[in-house]
Symmetry: C2
Subunit: 340 residues, 2 copies
């Protein structure tokens, strides 16, 4: 009576990409990631980690959320503000004030009266996208920045000839409803205006993305009010709100909170808010308490094979590979660095 | 100090589509839905509602989840089984056994030993998609089944001529990485193999979708083990698992449950499981206890305008309309029927 997706093999097909419990056969995304050589992993600098500690839960368990800040050239104006806010310990004693199902968890000063530290930048809306072609973009000729091994390119080229499907550089492999093209750059999912129009690119709202709450345009927010995506990617917010990072650990401490019953999921009763003990850039924490993470380089062959496997599930549970994937369904693998 | 997405107007841009708290100007998706005439709404038959009652929460609050079953011709073999399981009260006393972040909440018999009722069908894998062109498909010539009013078509045609963007029947308006085309049929998001290949179409895994757990192929599951999507749409499961419905009310009772810490998000400790009091087709409930819902007809002009507004946000908060939307980001509006 095993009418469950429960057995070792079947279950494995439903695991998160960075897990590696699947038996060998056609490699699953998780197996590809687990087999990636150490040289394909990139350590995240502690100076790019924002550590949010919430009050312990009802059972007394600690709740820590770790956010990776976006690298240059994206959103650096807001990220500079966030570094200042963290250094000023500005968020200590603030709270998570809003949890809207299939949308966002949002935190900051519920009173809206707490003075901000001096010296925060006012960032213009032009900061939502990057238009400088000299700023280190790794894509070429408007193609997604996924390199293929020769063998993989040959295999895929044959498949494309035979079926007209599955070419990662054409067809629907990463077809996107929100941007002419999408790609991976320096470990992040990025949308791109394409080679036909003036070069522009911008970060996208996937699950776990962290963005900056704002008032009406032309306000762009300071960075003091932040939200994390806890539902289906709200891509319509791309280029409308600044994205500054992503949750890489502990998102369950946000996504499993009770939903607020007020408008937009705000908690109606102040007692429902979840207090934030502290938010720090990891470098300010004692060395032993600094989280350490690494991500799979999106320029590596391992990532190419992982992305391909996410687009064409061939591991045993699957019977119909899709021949494509939403860029938000190719999450960049991130894992803790194991102590040596 | 309003560095929040909090003011009446700004906040309104982040609301769910079926809400209507936005002030007039360029109509938002929520305003369009609120203004739809009664004739654009379709009542859901109580015989197509599956009502799942969980034990009360820690605060003594009732927890009810309402699932709309898919209409013919989709997945009817499994849905027949589900009707039999509900009539046999088979799920009473079973539990939610698995909650995996950004993926699924899953329920059924944790012991895997409970005998199934007699007479359940064994449904073949061919049931994952529909191949009969005579079965009532509402799309024409491979175009998404969204009809436009003449005014809207003219407006859009002009925009397309001027900008090359935003044509709902071309470009990237509903570009999809998983299927050649996507459309709405009888109130549901449906993928379509396109007019170039043998006609086939199938339901898609969006947030809230309810599917049938299964063992390894060629098993397709009986329907006794079900899951609901509580994260980013796992579209790679399309055509690999049967979809039988969607949660239309109470999904927060699943999505905000503590995540399981075992493999795949299964609860490791039996005490963590959430008991299911009863699952019934609504017609078996006392009349006063039957939930009543209606959905916005996807053949209506209101839906066309709503879908267009979801693809091109022009309400005041937005500065860059995307010119397209993921089909899972155009949720079909569903609301309770107000007592007269």
């Amino acid at each position: 009576m095993k009418h469950l997706v429960l057995t070792a093999v079947a279950a494995a097909s439903l695991i998160h990409p960075a897990s590696a419990e699947e038996p060998a056969s056609i490699p699953s995304p998780g197996e590809i990631v687990a087999a990636a050589p150490a040289s394909d992993w990139v350590a995240i600098a502690p100076s790019d980690l924002l550590v949010m500690d919430l009050v312990a839960d009802a059972g007394g368990e600690a709740r820590r959320v770790v956010i990776q800040l976006m690298p240059a050239p994206f959103s650096q104006g807001w990220i500079g503000n966030i570094r200042k806010l963290a250094a000023a310990h500005w968020w200590d004693g603030t709270s998570i004030n809003r949890v809207q199902d299939n949308y966002v968890a949002q935190w900051g000063d519920a009173t809206e009266k707490k003075a901000l530290p001096a010296g925060l930048a006012v960032v213009p809306e032009s900061g939502y996208a990057i238009s400088d072609p000299a700023s280190g973009r790794v894509t070429v000729g408007g193609k997604p920045a996924i390199r293929l091994s020769k063998d993989e390119a040959n295999r895929r080229s044959k498949r494309f000839e035979q079926t007209g499907k599955g070419d990662i550089f054409g067809g629907r492999s990463m077809a996107d409803a929100y941007a002419p093209e999408v790609m991976f750059e320096s470990g992040w999912p990025i949308a791109y205006s394409g080679s036909q129009v003036p070069d522009s690119r911008w970060p996208v709202h996937c699950y776990g993305a962290v963005g900056v709450g704002r008032n009406m345009s032309p306000d762009t927010g300071s960075g003091a009010e932040l939200y994390a995506v806890i539902g289906h990617a709200p891509r319509h917010l791309d280029r409308n709100i600044a994205l500054v990072g992503r949750v890489i650990s502990g998102i369950e401490h946000l996504s499993s909170l009770p939903r607020g019953t007020g408008a937009l999921g705000f908690y109606e009763d102040a007692a429902e808010r979840v207090a934030i003990t502290a938010i720090r850039v990891a470098t300010e924490l004692p060395a032993a308490d600094q989280p350490r993470f690494e991500y799979l380089s999106t320029d590596s062959d391992s990532f190419d094979r992982y992305a391909d496997a996410r687009q064409n599930r061939r591991d045993p549970f699957f019977i119909k590979p899709a021949g494509g994937a939403d860029i938000c369904n190719i999450p960049v693998p991130v894992r803790p660095i194991q102590a040596k």
